[in-house]
Symmetry: C2
Subunit: 208 residues, 2 copies
């Protein structure tokens, strides 16, 4: 890794932490360069402006996030062939991962950007949306596989159920942070898991 790339990554790390704690408008370039130990000119060598920093940051975040999800549900698929079990195991692994974060989840850029939307251009808002759409597609695929084998106890729209994963994670992060209770996020993921298990549990399948 070259020296430039390293500085750039450190800049991105510090910027991400700061933005999650103070929002985009509340984060100054000056504080970032002070922490990295470069000058303002150095910052503008790496990024055209603050907006491009935001763009790069979100892109990196979404890529990492996808890699993590691929890892989790890849491991889940290694453990079982059953699509329902795969999702349930995956959610369990996800909850365990969240529970292992020592200081709790630091926050998600998607939510921060959502509540800073008017500071960004259309392109960045679209990138954020595509990130959430990718989650929907991922979980929608898994739910389709489950529905193909198990009859749900209620007639639920698969897109809505897929979006519920994103909803519980983003909401869980917020409530967990506000209450300063790191355990809350994994608990909420396990409640979602409980819902899915109940939804596909056998018994009284054909009651109207």
């Amino acid at each position: 890794m070259g020296k430039g790339v390293e500085t750039r990554e450190r800049l991105l790390d510090i910027a991400e932490t700061a933005i999650l704690q103070k929002g985009f408008g509340g984060t100054s370039i000056e504080e970032l360069i002070a922490e990295v130990g470069i000058t303002k000119s150095g910052f503008f060598y790496h990024f055209r402006d603050k907006n491009q920093l935001a763009h790069t940051l979100l892109q990196r975040h979404l890529e990492r996030d996808e890699a993590i999800l691929n890892n989790i549900f890849g491991r889940a698929r290694d453990l079982t062939d059953d699509p329902l079990h795969t999702l349930l195991v995956g959610l369990k692994l996800m909850a365990e991962m969240m529970a292992d974060l020592p200081d709790g989840h630091p926050g998600c850029l998607v939510t921060t950007y959502c509540y800073n939307e008017r500071l960004f251009d259309q392109e960045l808002r679209n990138l954020n949306r595509q990130g959430v759409e990718a989650w929907r597609i991922r979980f929608r695929g898994m739910i389709d596989d489950i529905n193909a084998r198990y009859p749900p106890r209620e007639d639920i729209d698969p897109d809505q159920l897929a979006d519920m994963v994103s909803t519980v994670i983003e909401g869980g992060i917020v409530i967990s942070k506000v209450l300063r209770d790191p355990a809350l996020l994994p608990q909420q993921i396990l409640l979602l898991r409980s819902y899915i298990r109940l939804l596909y549990s056998p018994g009284r399948e054909f009651d109207s």
Copy 2:
């Protein structure tokens, strides 16, 4: 309503909208006074500084929120004496209210403040937490009433289930906004409702 109170309320309205779209640090006093039509001196007559504006805003938000929830679940209680029905009807009413918002939900200050926490003092962060704790207490009470009459199909911690309401609402607002789909938030609330119905549905109550 006096002239001063009216100006103050308009200032708060405009500030709330701006902060939900641009975050606290991204919202300038200058833009607020420009829209209200007063001078900077006028602003500082009403609020000591930006921080006090944030405080007043959150307090107002939490009070209004409590009034709305009282109204919704009050109406639900008028319709039925059964605690499970009350919660299910209340969630239905809440979903309908969210669906009736023409431009979708504008966002929740609790989440914005959560992702701007380092811009605020301890007192404001505590106020935010107390708001979420009030939600927990409210829903925890309703869940206790349900548990006293119905055996849940799974052994769920009542506090966690209560927090799931907050989680789904805050998360639903975020995902709804990012995807620009106002229908998503009410749908997610109805999924939560579906979970609670399944959790307390009769049949196979005593399977281990």
